[in-house]
Symmetry: C2
Subunit: 331 residues, 2 copies
């Protein structure tokens, strides 16, 4: 059956035979309401199934929407869904709700989402920014609601951000491959403009140098946006003239693609990857993984955001979370 209009405080007041202010007092559990009056109101509320309109409440001066916006690339990617999970944990602790939007790493979409969120008067924003320059967007919108960036700092702005220790993680992973005797280590990455990729590439270069290996531009392949794309790229890297004998995968999607490619090509190529991937420990081949507490990434970002919402001033804060390298699989 079609839905009915929700009853208002006015309706409740009529049924209970009191004024709206009294209903408001009961709903907000204020003192100075006669027990009898209170129970009549409570009864009316139950009878009508009244649910206070939060949007109307939020309209009053000094009131907030109790809502946080989260903009990520793709909720179906385990990395981002873990962030969402951590964010939601904290957001709920604070009695707020989470509005989620997928940007698909497209700046236009991100911009639309963030603006829409501000129009809905969220109390704060958690954003995994796209690679685009955020100078304008950030300065334009951060006046209205505090913004904390997750996983990477936006281009062109100094702003609050909670990130991973990208370079150190990459160094350890690539170093592992070097020590294992690999000499031509390919790099597979996603969007070349995303800053995490740069940092991980820097780590890759540093580890190569430390291992006495020369950097070869031909071994670096950015621009793979899905696991499938990464699979093709890696197959090429392994089979083609580049003759890679190992792969460092930039993120979880790249790792999945690389695993498939290596299996397809049937080589003994070494593999290391950033982010954890489920079931990697059960694979027949060893794989070095740079892991981290992704849920915590979301949690920390949300905590920092609520700090700002509570009024904490001061310069932009940057929190960097540790990563660990571990070798899984190859049982």
């Amino acid at each position: 059956m079609p839905t009915q209009p929700t009853p208002t405080m006015h309706d409740v007041a009529r049924v209970a035979g009191v004024s709206v202010s009294t209903v408001s007092r009961v709903v907000n559990n204020e003192r100075y309401v006669h027990p009898d009056t209170r129970s009549r109101v409570v009864e009316a509320i139950a009878e009508l199934g009244f649910q206070r309109n939060e949007a109307a409440r939020a309209l009053r001066p000094g009131q907030t929407s109790d809502t946080i916006g989260l903009v990520i690339a793709d909720i179906a990617n385990p990395f981002f869904s873990a962030i969402a999970r951590g964010a939601e944990d904290v957001v709920r602790e604070h009695g707020h709700m989470l509005i989620v939007g997928n940007s698909g790493l497209d700046f236009e979409r991100e911009r639309d989402l963030v603006q829409e969120l501000v129009r809905r008067r969220v109390d704060g924003l958690l954003v995994v920014p796209t690679a685009h320059d955020h100078a304008d967007l950030h300065t334009e919108l951060s006046r209205w609601a505090p913004i904390v960036y997750v996983d990477r700092a936006p281009r062109g702005v100094r702003a609050d951000a909670v990130v991973l220790d990208n370079k150190a993680g990459a160094v350890r992973a690539v170093d592992y491959l070097v020590r294992a005797g690999h000499r031509r280590i390919g790099y597979v990455g996603g969007d070349p403009a995303v800053v995490t990729g740069h940092h991980r590439l820097a780590g890759y270069k540093q580890a190569l140098k430390a291992g006495g290996l020369e950097f070869d531009e031909a071994l670096v392949r950015f621009g793979n946006h899905t696991a499938e794309a990464a699979e093709e790229t890696v197959a090429e890297l392994l089979n083609g003239p580049t003759k890679a004998d190992a792969i460092f995968a930039d993120n979880n999607r790249m790792t999945v693609g690389a695993l498939h490619a290596i299996r397809r090509v049937r080589t003994e190529a070494g593999l290391a990857g950033f982010d954890d991937v489920e079931l990697a420990d059960l694979l027949p081949r060893p794989i070095a993984l740079v892991t981290h507490d992704t849920i915590e990434l979301g949690r920390r970002a949300a905590r920092l955001l609520f700090d700002r919402i509570a009024g904490s001033a001061g310069p932009p804060r940057r929190i960097t979370l540790r990563t660990r390298m571990l070798v899984r699989g190859g049982s």
Copy 2:
């Protein structure tokens, strides 16, 4: 720096030297605004960084919040995050936004979330219901906003739902194990009260019977709420007096747990599981998986919801999505 109060139409009107209604007309792209006036308003909007307050707009009669609520068990579980992804796709197509809440399969939390969502005047609700009886909750809240249930129909109500073909899927998977020569097939499941488990168990039983195997209560273990719990249970099933020689895992978490247990115990036990799991195809052992288009599950539910929001009446609709069985891994 702390955030400022957002400018209102009144502010824009003052700056542009017009009335609020003119500002409203410009913002809503209505006709009958003189080009000059329009540009003065547009300028003022840009100057102030005005963003229309959607909550205030939604308050007007006949207006909607353009928001959909989604309640799932845990966004970090790939099954649910895929649903969220599908839902968001459709929600966005309709110009709405998605508020997400994790129930953790706890009825109290679910109830709180759904009520809170109604208080925020969402236009509709997408819910993966807990096992608890929903008769009261559904009849109480579905008057105010249409509700479509995802993955399972709630207990105690006839309501719109988009579900999977649980029984048939389980039959095929277990049948695969039977044909492979397994004789003592264990069943590992999650919450015993969730209806999907019942249907999958029914399929399990049917496949056993068809294969001439006797049903043994001792081989059925519900109540595993994490992959880790499932791992312990499966290890017990394989090692203990039950002497299972194969496992049917109820859902993706159970499958992951079972895989770990089997590796730990180092048996040749057969394995089949409901839901897909990433990288299963690269595992050294074959595994029969009941797969489905999870994103589509979310999409279909959202479409059905928007149908109802648009006013479509009629009896509760039940959509059942096909599942497929395929054997992965064991390369």
